[in-house]
């Protein structure tokens, strides 16, 4: 699981005194902090995703732990300067373990009035505010809905304002390079990045390397972006207020190789690791639907021998492609979201009936129907557990953090192969789009995945629906002489696999398929509790709420409250001790980004009257929202 969970997590208060250090930087003053949350915001064309990613990279390389959340606009081409077109990227970097991209901002870089307007409510009083003053013109102010100029009307008085005419300074920086207007505009994001890197005392090398690689075929852009970056970095020192650098010390980490990884990357790497570990071919089929398409892109990007990636004609085709591949002896995988996942219900039924190993990643998004494509939600839980006709049990997992994608993909592959079943992995845009620091595993740390393709045994008639100790049927792949058999969506006779309409056989098969999934519980880890093993309150979460819950519970524990946290990564089957754990607490709080779906499941399975904390806004929980609920429940305990 995520690296940071192995360490003792401590969130210490952030504010510390400004103290000058002997740093050689011209401005002189350096303020030390334990952690900073900064958001880069601008127009869709301002390159904020790039600035955010590069800033993250530099922070991670500097030795901080990072947790990020990109917030791209839903509209691909909103009018320039419009609120709908604001693109954001939030970075939380720290010298100690962190769980979330952060609730409130310690710093905001706003490239235009719309970006300021959209993000100012999240900025802490006294926080650092960096604005590009060149865009605070009548048209832009109007587009953002400002009646007067906030730079002049006192609105920003409670912040530490760093006002920089970035357009102009950037133009001066690249004046000597022959560029077209669009390229000059692109350079502006590097100017802003340079500014931010200086302010937070990050080195430039990682970005310079990236520039050299990215523009390898365009020396003019290397020259120009490098100039802009340096100009931002140096000019910031000469700017008037507040020329104070903020420094966040390196985190202490266990030895190893580290990188930052997004959830989509981690899932992709996990799938590739499963193929690598098992030697099985991996066939990935996907239809482009945001936000799941990022995984499809990553698979094309990380091309590997023995891995085939195909863009399917729709999501139903995608799962059929994956399933056909599984029948052929490969690991078939698809990733989808919202409407595509609904479409796949039919094929999931076929996968359950034909008992073939495949993995379906559902990057849940705000629904129903097209909903809000770019926004995260956890409202597919009941669909994943039950959304098929007939009695149709399968394995459901959920990833907890961006880096957990790696482990969860491997776990999904392991269970699919071991139990000969489809496995659904629930994710959402918050975890697949977010990124964090990750200790890269070495190859020998990868978990073993046992693959047993069936072999003919002399003198015995092959039983395609015979069962092993896990109740899994044999994976007999075409090309193997003597194991020719027919599978498919019709009810099978136990053992022979022949089509059967026999009522008792049907019931037996329904029960066998259910027992097979139940038995998987023996191979999954028990539910772990962080905090007192029994008492007043347990906060139980699943999926992407892990970070917010962990941070909230730790904060409350530091305040001396008796509260524990536990997190489900396996939702079907649930860990064996789930019921026992729930019954050890007087109250159980279940925060979910849906209308209370896990709560229903738990009440049904364990007759425990859990308290649901529901949020369905297409946004993740703020740590503070969970913290407040915990306090409220303990007050009334």
């Amino acid at each position: 699981m995520a690296t940071h969970e192995r360490r003792v997590a401590r969130e210490t208060p952030r504010k510390t005194a400004v103290r000058p250090t002997a740093a050689s930087k011209p401005a002189g003053a350096i303020e030390e902090r334990d952690a900073v949350v900064i958001r880069f915001a601008g127009d869709a064309g301002d390159g904020m995703q790039l600035v955010g990613t590069q800033f993250t990279m530099a922070s991670a390389a500097h030795g901080n732990l990072v947790c990020t959340l990109p917030d791209p606009p839903a509209e691909i081409r909103a009018p320039v300067g419009a609120l709908a077109g604001v693109s954001g990227f939030q970075v939380h970097f720290s010298s100690h373990a962190i769980h979330t991209p952060g609730d409130r901002l310690d710093a905001l870089l706003a490239m235009n009035p719309a970006a300021l307007k959209a993000n100012l409510p999240d900025l802490e009083p006294g926080a650092l505010l960096i604005v590009n003053t060149d865009t605070f013109l009548p048209d832009e102010l109007h587009a953002a809905g400002y009646a007067s100029n906030p730079l002049q009307d006192g609105l920003l008085d409670s912040y530490r304002l760093l006002a920089a005419p970035m357009d102009q300074l950037n133009r001066e920086a690249v004046a000597k390079v022959k560029l077209i207007a669009r390229e000059t505009g692109r350079c502006k994001s590097f100017f802003a990045l340079g500014l931010a890197l200086w302010l937070f005392d990050r080195p430039l090398d990682a970005t310079l390397r990236w520039i050299r690689d990215t523009y390898a075929k365009n020396p003019v852009m290397i020259e120009a972006t490098t100039r802009s970056l340096n100009a931002g970095y140096q000019r910031s020192a000469a700017l008037r207020t507040p020329a104070v650098q903020v420094r966040v010390a390196k985190a202490e980490s266990e030895p190893g190789r580290y990188r930052q990884v997004s959830g989509a990357e981690a899932l992709t790497l996990g799938l590739l690791a499963a193929a690598h570990r098992t030697g099985l071919p991996l066939v990935f089929a996907g239809f482009p639907l945001a936000p799941a398409s990022e995984i499809l892109h990553q698979l094309f990007e990380m091309k590997q021998p023995n891995v085939k990636v195909i863009q399917a004609e729709d999501d139903l085709a995608a799962l059929n492609l994956a399933l056909g591949a599984s029948f052929g002896g490969a690991l078939g995988v698809t990733a989808t979201t919202g409407p595509g996942f609904s479409l796949q219900s039919e094929a999931l039924g076929l996968a359950v009936m034909s008992e073939l190993p495949c993995v379906v990643i559902d990057v849940q998004r705000a629904g129903p129907s097209t909903g809000i494509p770019s926004k995260a939600e956890q409202a597919d839980l009941l669909l994943a557990l039950h959304g098929r006709h007939g009695e149709c049990p399968l394995i459901v997992l959920a990833m907890a953090t961006p880096s957990d994608g790696f482990a969860i993909a491997l776990e999904a592959a392991r269970l699919a192969i071991r139990c000969m079943t489809p496995v659904i992995v629930l994710a959402d845009a918050y975890v697949t789009g977010g990124a964090e620091t990750w200790r890269v595993p070495t190859l020998d740390e990868l978990p073993a995945i046992d693959v047993r393709h069936a072999k003919p045994s002399a003198g015995k008639t092959f039983q395609p629906y015979g069962r092993d100790e896990h109740l899994a049927r044999p994976w007999a792949i075409p090309g193997t002489p003597g194991l020719e058999h027919r599978t498919g969506g019709m009810e099978k006779e136990a053992g022979t696999g022949n089509v059967s309409y026999n009522p008792l056989n049907h019931e037996e098969m329904v029960q066998t398929r259910a027992r097979k999934i139940d038995l998987a519980v023996d191979t999954i880890p028990p539910l772990e509790v962080n905090g007192p093993p029994q008492g007043d309150l347990l906060v139980l979460g699943w999926g992407s709420t892990y970070g917010a819950i962990a941070a909230a519970v730790e904060r409350c524990q530091r305040k001396g409250m008796s509260v524990a946290a536990a997190h489900l990564r396996h939702l079907s089957p649930l860990p064996k001790n789930t019921g026992d754990v729930l019954k050890r607490y007087r109250k159980v709080l279940v925060p979910e980004l849906n209308a209370g779906q896990l709560s229903k499941v738990l009440r049904d399975a364990f007759l425990v009257d859990v308290v649901s904390l529901s949020k369905v806004q297409g946004r993740p929980f703020l740590v503070r929202e969970i913290e407040q609920k915990i306090e409220e429940l303990l007050r009334n305990a």
């Binding site: 091309k303 052929g328 490969a330 190859l443």
Partner: protein
């Protein structure tokens, strides 16, 4: 795929132990027995053959063969089969489908398998009716067909499978008919030999719900006038005395009788290998009573298969990175 040392197989080696459950008199029986004969001479080991099907009467066929089989959901067989080929390109994969399966629920999957030129043999049993669901109009039902869902006669315009396959860029497109066993063998063998997506429409009589709909093409007394057998490089002639033929008048085909100034030079010559499927499409539009219908190979051209293109594209661009390198990503750092 084929090896020289294979034991000789007989059609019976391809029978499974399952009892065949089609209605007595169904055209599917004839197709199944012809298919087994063809499979026996393909020189492909039985374990390397897979039959993938969707729903409907035709979809049951894999159960009656002793090869590997996968009976999927309505219309999805081409997608299942494409995935299977991706997993193991060495397999010989057949798709068995019907007009309801391939053209109602599965039209999307069919056209994409064809355009990708996946190395599949796709057999579409066309009986112009939903059989297993007990008699409703199918997308190929000809106007006037009375069914449970078209009590006054079907009035929607039918799809023409051959035209659709050609429009979907299929590289092998043919039509045959259930009772013409020799013709069917010939077509199936050619389909099996084709590299890429081979699409074969088989006119199939549904004894129960649409009996006799293809009688004009099977009745020996009239079929010489109602059918043209396509032969590559040969003039498109028909009629008992082979004195009638097709010629072009502008963009319009005409059925003409030789003589009275019309000579063999006027008659169109069939060219299944033409790089553009224009002639094939024109032939796919011919239907009675004004024209004879074509049986045989409309189109047979070579284009790289999906697998070949995948392999080629893999070799382009940067070579794959070592998995360790991928794991570490572009930027990583060591903590000692």
């Amino acid at each position: 795929m084929a090896t020289a040392t294979l034991p000789l197989l007989t059609p019976n080696d391809f029978s499974s132990d399952r009892e065949v459950r089609w209605c007595p008199g169904c055209g599917d029986f004839s197709i199944l027995s012809q298919l087994k004969k063809v499979l026996a001479v393909l020189n492909v080991p039985r374990e390397k053959m897979v039959f993938v099907s969707g729903l409907g009467c035709a979809g049951r066929l894999p159960y009656y063969l002793s090869t590997y089989g996968f009976h999927g959901s309505y219309g999805r067989a081409p997608a299942l089969a494409t995935g299977l080929k991706l997993a193991n390109p060495d397999l010989q994969v057949w798709v068995v489908t019907g007009d309801g399966d391939a053209l109602s629920a599965g039209a999307t999957h069919l056209i994409h398998a064809l355009r990708r030129n996946v190395d599949l043999k796709i057999l579409l049993f066309n009986n112009e009716v939903f059989g297993l669901s007990k008699g409703q109009a199918s997308p190929t039902a000809r106007p006037g067909t009375r069914t449970k869902t078209s009590p006054e006669g079907s009035f929607e315009t039918p799809l023409r499978p051959i035209s659709l396959a050609l429009a979907a860029e299929a590289t092998f497109v043919a039509r045959t008919i259930d009772v013409d066993v020799n013709h069917m063998s010939e077509v199936l063998e050619k389909a099996a030999a084709h590299r890429g997506a081979a699409f074969v429409e088989i006119y199939q009589n549904c004894k129960i719900f649409n009996d006799g709909v293809f009688e004009y093409a099977t009745d020996a007394s009239i079929k010489t006038d109602t059918v043209i057998y396509l032969e590559h490089g040969r003039p498109l002639l028909f009629g008992r005395d082979r004195n009638q033929g097709l010629r072009l008048n502008g963009f319009e085909p005409e059925a003409v009788t030789l003589g009275h100034g019309i000579t063999m030079d006027d008659i169109l010559i069939h060219d299944e290998r033409a790089s553009e499927p224009t002639l094939a499409f024109l032939l796919s539009r011919l239907i009675g009573p004004h024209f004879p219908e074509c049986l045989g190979v409309f189109r047979s051209v070579q284009r790289p298969t999906h697998q070949q293109l995948l392999d080629e594209s893999f070799l382009q661009g940067d070579p794959p990175r070592l998995f360790e390198k991928l794991l570490a990503g572009d930027e990583s750092w060591l903590v000692a």
